[in-house]
């Protein structure tokens, strides 16, 4: 009996190791068959990246966590709809995360923003910290004001470092359309942030 139990334990461990070694597409086939262990491996593998992407779009850690939980539940529920021959798993997952994030973002756009942390103590570096936070919050505000698709394109290509082709796959568009989105996003941001450079540098634009 002990040897049987030992063999079973070894077998389960081997199965777990096999799953860990499996690529996303193989794991998705298991998930579609209802394999929770495969789903756990897949979730663990892609959770950080998904959370990072959601955070950039919804601008809130708590909301991002909810978005990512919903996204992975959708992966589980719709695993049998995924076709490995049409798109990579990561493209499909990113698309789900982006769509869920945009849903959250649109619902909460008009909700009051959380107050920024107050800086109460005038420490020697306090001025630098204040300036840094002010700059960050101006850039964040400028990014938040971008149209949804431009913001998502920037998040995918600049912050998540997807290639234009991968990001285009997520948003179901051509690479040239993705490039145009990025150009528009960056031009808008530059116009909004140009005052940070001051009047002299701002006049250097040759366009």
């Amino acid at each position: 009996l002990v040897s049987i139990l030992r063999d079973e334990g070894r077998s389960e461990r081997d199965d777990g190791e096999d799953l860990e070694d499996g690529d996303d597409e193989a794991l998705m086939a298991e998930v579609a068959a209802g394999n929770r262990a495969a789903f756990d491996v897949l979730t663990r593998r892609h959770l950080r990246k998904s959370l990072s992407l959601a955070c950039r779009i919804v601008h809130g850690r708590h909301d991002a966590e909810e978005v990512v939980q919903d996204a992975f539940l959708q992966v589980w529920r719709h695993a049998n709809h995924w076709r490995g021959d049409r798109a990579r798993f990561t493209t499909w997952l990113h698309r789900i995360v982006v769509n869920r994030s945009l849903d959250y973002w649109r619902r909460r756009r008009f909700a009051p923003l959380e107050d920024a942390a107050d800086i109460l103590t005038p420490l020697p570096d306090a001025q630098a910290i204040v300036e840094e936070r002010q700059l960050a919050s101006r850039v964040d505000a400028a990014i938040s004001a971008l149209p949804d698709r431009q913001r998502v394109a920037l998040s995918l290509c600049y912050y998540e470092e997807l290639s234009a082709a991968e990001a285009a796959g997520v948003l179901k568009m051509s690479v040239s359309a993705m490039e145009s989105l990025l150009v528009r996003a960056r031009c808008t941001l530059r116009e909004k942030l140009q005052p940070l450079l001051g009047p002299v540098d701002a006049g250097e634009d040759r366009s």
């Binding site: 929770r36 979730t43 939980q69 960050a136 850039v139 964040d140 912050y159 290639s163 634009d205």
Partner: protein, 149 residues
């Protein structure tokens, strides 16, 4: 590569050539080495990158192992709650399963053979007077109804 394309790439992807389409990097670097205008567009892109990096640094989601475990636990708990909601089964598949097809076919064949044998053996008995009367009535009336139409 032309200046316009170089500017477009810098405007789209920023100043880091590592983010540019791989097929165009060599040509872009060649242009950069010989063109002050290209360097100008790259400097502009670098300035915006610095701002974007600043925001990213302020907003970078540092995900801890504990957070990952907590979220995986939460997802698992939600799955456990949701699992009873199984996918609907088509009605034709939801009927009770009565056994393999060959058993049903065999049963029907056996019943057919039994019926033929019983009919030939005369076990069912001759028609009674009453049943003959009824059949005559039905036949004659149905013929006359059809004839009179």
């Amino acid at each position: 590569m032309k200046q316009a394309r170089f500017r477009h790439l810098a405007d789209a992807y920023g100043a880091d050539p590592g983010r540019w389409p791989q097929a165009e990097r060599t040509a872009a670097e060649a242009l950069l080495a010989q063109s002050a205008e290209a360097r100008h567009w790259l400097a502009k892109a670098r300035q915006l990158d610095a701002w974007l990096d600043h925001a990213a640094a302020a907003d970078a989601p540092a995900v801890t192992d504990a957070q990952v475990e907590r979220m995986i636990g939460a997802i698992g708990a939600r799955l456990d709650r949701d699992i009873p909601a199984a996918a609907p089964v088509p009605w034709i598949q939801s009927r009770p399963h009565t056994g393999p097809l060959w058993a049903a076919v065999g049963f029907l064949a056996l019943m057919g053979i039994t019926g033929v044998l019983v009919g030939k053996s005369g076990l069912s008995g001759p028609p009674t007077v009453q049943s003959a009367d009824i059949s005559d009535f039905v036949l004659s009336h149905s013929y006359s109804l059809a004839w009179n139409r």
